[in-house]
């Protein structure tokens, strides 16, 4: 019985790879996607705090106060490019521009509140803009603090002369050792953070395993239904249960083969650091194997269900493709789920992709082992069981 199931499974794999385009989509495209998104999301860096945000500055005031602000901004990990107002429109790569209006120093000297403006391109990355705003806020706080300190030194009866050049004094204040230091580190022992390759590697692997198993599996199943191959198999010495088990085994094996090839290829590329690629799968091979196997079972179950309820290969391909994209997007394969609203995070966890990503982050980001991923693996197996049973219930294979 087991032998027959295994043979049926092997036949599924043989059929899948008979079409060479499947091999292309299973092995080449995921790597291309990982390389692309690994470089684009977080510019390939794993830790976003390592990423320097570019800021174009137009200082129209050119007072000691505005120069102090520019210096304070430079101390805030900004890649500051100063340009003249006339060159602003033609400055290449300009995304965020800080405009310091003329008269800033005079206005502060008069004791009035002065305003600077951060202009962002409409399609600027929102998260990077928020970080830029925090940097600018800190630079301004530092500057106002320095003004306050200078005034406090003089006392109540003497006004601070802000028309005089106080740049050197400001620099002295900025150079002091800070009284409050923030010592930041990451929890766990893994490799933070899910930006760059840290996000792209598990994300794209999850997406392509699911999509390819669903598309190839559901298309072949509907083709076999339409062409009568399933009926013919049913009169062969196979029970319907053996047939279904064979189909499921084939789909699981397909996902495992794809994962193994992707992991091996990724490791080679990562070893040679091609295009800055950095493939890391965590330090627990057992945990990784359990997660991939469970996800393969979940994917196989869903595929059997699709194959059972959809009537044509075109339908199967289209539904698998679209639902695969939705599951990948909402499940956190394209971007970390932390940055979406909590209700969308909950919606994302309707899909197995979100649980797979959670498990992969346990392995990769937190550096945890097998025990930590068991709850996620159990949920994925439950998906496989439920959809597998539903698929078996609806699949008509009687002769």
């Amino acid at each position: 019985m087991i032998r027959r199931i295994f043979r049926l499974g092997l036949n599924e794999i043989r059929l899948t790879f008979k079409d060479r385009s499947n091999a292309f989509w299973m092995f080449v495209m995921p790597i291309v996607f990982i390389m692309f998104f690994g470089n684009v999301i977080g510019t390939g860096q794993n830790d976003p705090s390592d990423v320097t945000i570019s800021l174009t500055v137009v200082d129209q005031d050119v007072s000691w106060l505005s120069r102090s602000l520019v210096e304070a901004l430079k101390g805030e990990d900004f890649a500051v490019t100063e340009v003249d107002p006339g060159e602003l429109e033609t400055t290449e790569g300009r995304i965020r521009t800080l405009v310091i209006p003329a008269g800033l120093g005079d206005m502060v000297a008069r004791g009035e509140q002065a305003r600077v403006f951060l202009a962002t391109e409409p399609d600027a990355n929102t998260q990077a803009t928020i970080v830029a705003e925090l940097h600018i806020g800190r630079a301004l706080t530092r500057l106002v603090g320095a003004l306050v300190e200078m005034q406090a030194e003089l006392g109540e009866n003497e006004a601070l002369d802000l028309q005089a050049d106080r740049l050197a004094q400001m620099r002295d204040l900025a150079d002091r050792e800070p009284l409050v230091v923030v010592a930041a580190s990451f929890a766990g022992r893994g490799r933070p953070v899910p930006g760059g390759f840290g996000q792209a590697v598990p994300g794209m692997m999850t997406q392509f395993i699911l999509m390819m198993v669903m598309i190839a599996g559901a298309v072949y199943l509907t083709e076999e239904k339409l062409s009568g191959v399933l009926k013919r198999l049913a009169v062969a010495p196979f029970t319907p249960r053996t047939l279904i088990a064979g189909k499921l085994t084939g789909l699981v094996m397909l996902a495992l083969v794809q994962s193994a090839v992707l992991i091996a290829t990724g490791s080679v590329i990562g070893y040679f650091k091609l295009f800055g690629a950095d493939f890391y799968w965590g330090d627990s091979p057992a945990g990784l194997a359990v997660m991939i196997l469970s996800f393969a079972v979940a994917g196989a179950g869903i595929t059997l269900f699709y194959g059972a309820i959809l009537s044509s290969p075109t339908q199967a391909s289209a539904v698998s493709w679209l639902s695969g994209m939705v599951m990948a997007g909402l499940g956190g394969c394209w971007w970390p789920l932390e940055i979406v609203p909590s209700w969308l995070r909950t919606v994302g966890h309707i899909f197995p992709t979100a649980w797979m990503m959670d498990g992969m982050h346990q392995l990769i980001s937190f550096g945890n082992g097998l025990t930590a991923v068991l709850p996620y693996a159990a949920i994925l197996l439950a998906y496989g069981l439920v959809f597998g049973l539903l698929g078996a219930r609806f699949l008509k294979i009687q002769a």
Partner: protein
């Protein structure tokens, strides 16, 4: 001409009998734009573009400054963006972090207040969630800002704060230690004496900043700004200069950034390029089925059959873009006041470019499967590099340099000029021109290859 129209109509009817593939391609941009819009749109979180950030706090200090901090972070405005959870035991908080239950854990050390008031450096310990990327960074930046604020406050108000701390020491346990009115008045006067001279820089802060989108306020207006201006002042001045409110209206709803007007063109381009495959694939599929030979034997001839397939592809692409635009408008993602002439020009150019690409590929392909695989790979590649998957401006410089060699780049550029920036036909001439050129070249080469192949009769 009539025979070509009849062939196109027949093929279209055939397509409509099995429309699943086309429908999915049409739904995809809407679903994708909807998903990304929900995740990153202005209404997706606290209103700042970020979801609410959960921060665990452990207070080993339990003194004046940590108390002030606890009160300050409890206010409504702060709570809208940050959910501060105060945990008594550090071990429990660390365990929660290991389980990924918060974005960060901030630990206020023992003697935090007293050390700081004594002028000794203190260290705030911040533990970040390794499975998150941006939120822990936001917390780290915020902790840094808090550090600067505390640093400055202590340097200026250290003396009165120390006096307050000493005066109230032990009051929590023994209420009889509560200072009498005279002491309180003295403390207040001491603090006031320190605050009065500096108040002109602090209440309100001497310098603040506002963030504006260049789509909302142009750079030209910003460069004319005075430090006394507010963003509303700049908008009014800009509207007065423009003479009407055309600019702001075109971008969508008042001042709100319309993410969908950016996303829909991005993803639509990818879908349209995939759809370009539909008409041309018929050629090789019918060749395999033997029906193409019969068509060539008819009075239509090779030329009309090829023209029919090319026009079919063009019609499918145009119809798809029209449907996407109508649905986009119905959903409020695209303004209904976009330039009609510009839209017709750009949509036609995109459809022609998609048809040209498909004609070119099928002109060289031997089998429909090989052509479909190559076309899919090419569309995916161009979509990555051309800005359909990630906005062009967010890509690294080396990828931005490649983008202009893709159809997606020119298509998205023109469409966003129309849908997002509210520009007109004259502003998309360059984009439409490039696309028309690509389309014309692709169709010419494809036509030449296919007509040569079928005229020679090697296949047909």
């Amino acid at each position: 001409m009539l025979s070509i129209a009849l062939m196109v109509a027949k093929d279209l009817r055939r397509r409509l009998r099995a429309p699943v593939g086309l429908i999915v391609m049409l739904i995809f941009p809407l679903v994708f734009a909807g998903m990304v819009g929900m995740a990153f749109g202005p209404s997706s979180g606290s209103g700042s573009g970020l979801p609410v950030v959960t921060i665990l706090m452990v207070d080993h200090d339990e003194d004046l400054l940590s108390g002030v901090l606890q009160n300050a972070t409890g206010n409504e405005e702060f709570s809208r963006q940050f959910d501060m959870v105060w945990i008594e035991e550090e071990d429990e908080a660390r365990l929660m972090m290991e389980n990924g239950e918060a974005s960060a854990l901030l630990i206020l050390p023992e003697n935090f207040t007293s050390d700081l008031l004594d002028g000794k450096p203190v260290t705030l310990v911040l533990i970040k969630n390794p499975a998150q990327s941006i939120l822990p960074q936001v917390v780290e930046e915020m902790a840094g800002l808090l550090g600067v604020f505390l640093d400055t406050s202590v340097r200026i108000l250290g003396e009165p704060l120390l006096a307050i701390s000493e005066t109230f020491e032990g009051v929590e346990d023994d209420s009889s230690l509560f200072p009498d009115n005279q002491v309180l008045v003295a403390l207040t006067l001491q603090a006031a004496a320190r605050i009065r001279p500096i108040s002109r820089y602090v209440f309100p802060p001497a310098m603040v900043f506002d963030t504006v989108s260049e789509d909302d306020v142009t750079l030209a207006t910003l460069l004319e700004a005075s430090p006394a201006d507010t963003v509303d002042d700049l908008r009014s001045r800009q509207a007065a200069l423009a003479g009407d409110e055309e600019l702001s209206d075109a971008a969508g709803d008042d001042d709100e950034f319309n993410i969908f007007a950016v996303l829909l063109p991005m993803v639509s381009l990818m879908s349209i390029l995939f759809m370009g495959d539909n008409g041309m694939r018929d050629l090789l599929a019918e060749e395999k089925a033997g029906t193409l030979t019969r068509q060539f034997a008819s009075p239509a001839g090779v030329g009309r059959v090829l023209a029919g397939k090319i026009i079919l592809t063009l019609v499918i692409c145009c119809a798809a873009m029209l449907i996407l635009a109508v649905v986009g408008m119905a959903l409020g993602w695209i303004s209904t006041s976009i330039s009609l002439v510009g839209s017709v020009l750009q949509v036609g150019a995109i459809a022609l470019a998609a048809t040209g690409m498909s004609s070119f590929i099928y002109g060289f392909a031997r089998t429909d499967r090989a052509a479909a695989t190559f076309q899919s790979a090419l569309v995916m590649g161009m979509s990555m590099l051309g800005g359909s998957m990630v906005p062009y401006r967010q890509m690294p410089a080396f990828l931005q340099a490649v983008a202009p060699y893709t159809i997606n780049y020119w298509g998205i550029r023109g469409l966003t000029d129309l849908t997002f920036r509210g520009l007109g036909a004259a502003d998309v001439l360059q984009e439409a021109g490039v696309l028309l050129l690509i389309g014309a070249l692709g169709i010419t080469v494809g036509w030449w290859r296919l007509s040569r192949r079928y005229a020679l009769g090697t296949k047909a």
